[in-house]
Amino acid sequence: MIELKNIYKSYLGKKALVDVSLQLPRGEIVGLFGENGAGKTTMMKCILDFITYDGEITLDGQPITRRNIDKISFATSEHSFFPNLSALGHAEFYKEHFPKFNEKRFKALMEFFELPMHKNIKSFSMGQKNQFEVIMALSQGADYILMDEPFAGNDVFNREDFYKVLLGILEPHETVLLSTHLIEEVSDFIGRAILIRKGQIVGDVTTSELEDEGKDLMSYIKETYRYRADRVSKALNDLAGGEG
């Protein structure tokens, strides 16, 4: 389990995370939702120990260090592959450095998405780069897979394929923390939704709890964010009125 206890992070005095506490047990697919700048990426970077923070983050009860970091993988829309290395070169590199690298899964996903093995990744299209980024995160052999808006730039069919594949290949001990804006698309396959706003966790609910309450994910998010549906029509009316 990944556990965050009272995490605070600020950038030049601007609060990015405020008293964030949550638990990510094994075997869950968790959606992380929030506006741009809400703190989703910062939270993931704290988990990965990429940035300094105040508070405590543990992985199976231990602090996250180089000894257990291989239990976490990361796919990001910023990309983290080696652009001048081929897919095969990546597999070799990962095999050498991540003892649980899942070569079978890597090959199966490469084949499924019809990605070339011998071409440098920089020659891939944006969609292919995103796919490759996620393939590496899924193949690392990690128990916790963090994904930060991994499908930005992929078409809807492609994303659909990915969700299906993800559901099909994940093993019971694998946890996915998926940060995305595509709420409706992922609502069918996530088991839990965490909402973050201005660096604070403002909602944390399982989809079964939502079902019990007869709510869907989108309405829960809108409710939590106090989304005002009339805001747009009011603005348009005001504009139209102003012109008249």
Binding site: F50, I69, F81
Partner: protein, 169 residues
């Protein structure tokens, strides 16, 4: 026994190191070539010790040879320049992990072996620096030997070896 070094294991993954290695060896050869101009200086200084007397070459009375360090001058400076370029190469290799539209630094930071990133940034430049240092030292010994062997004892100022270290420290 054939020893094969896989240089790519000591550079950022995917980096084309062939061009870098070629550039290094050209610069290294250039530094050796420049250092050889020392022998022109030495020859000139040696000639200045003599004069022609009745068709015979004789030592000029009281003329002393310049110190070795003066003749050596900046002839080994090419190696220092190559060393500076290699320091720049280290910086470039760190930046490489954040370039070309991907932050592969994230992968390097997630590796169980925390030295892998530094190994891939420092190894080849440091190896180059060591090679330059050893070559410069061996050449200096060779030049010193040539100086001592070719300079008549009476024209030699004392404590040449000691002056080298005083000059460097």
């Amino acid at each position: 026994m054939k020893i094969r070094i896989d240089f790519e294991r000591y550079a950022p993954p995917g980096m084309k190191i062939g061009e870098g290695l070629t550039a290094f060896f050209i610069a290294y050869a250039g530094a050796i070539f420049i250092s050889c101009f020392y022998f022109f200086n030495l020859g000139e200084e040696l000639r200045s010790l003599y004069e022609w007397n009745g068709g015979e070459r004789v030592l000029i009375q009281g003329r002393m040879m310049k110190d070795f360090v003066e003749i050596l001058d900046y002839h080994l400076g090419g190696f220092v320049l190559v060393g500076l370029v290699l320091i720049e190469a280290v910086i470039y290799q760190y930046l490489y992990f954040n370039a070309h539209g991907s932050k592969s630094l994230y992968v390097m930071k997630r590796l169980p072996n925390k030295w892998e990133l530094h190994k891939r940034c420092w190894s080849l430049p440091v190896a180059g620096m060591i090679l330059c240092g050893i070559t410069a030292f061996v050449l200096m010994l060779l030049f010193f030997w040539a100086y001592m062997a070719s300079t008549p004892e009476v024209c030699r100022l004392p404590d040449q070896w000691g002056k080298i270290w005083r000059d460097f420290t």
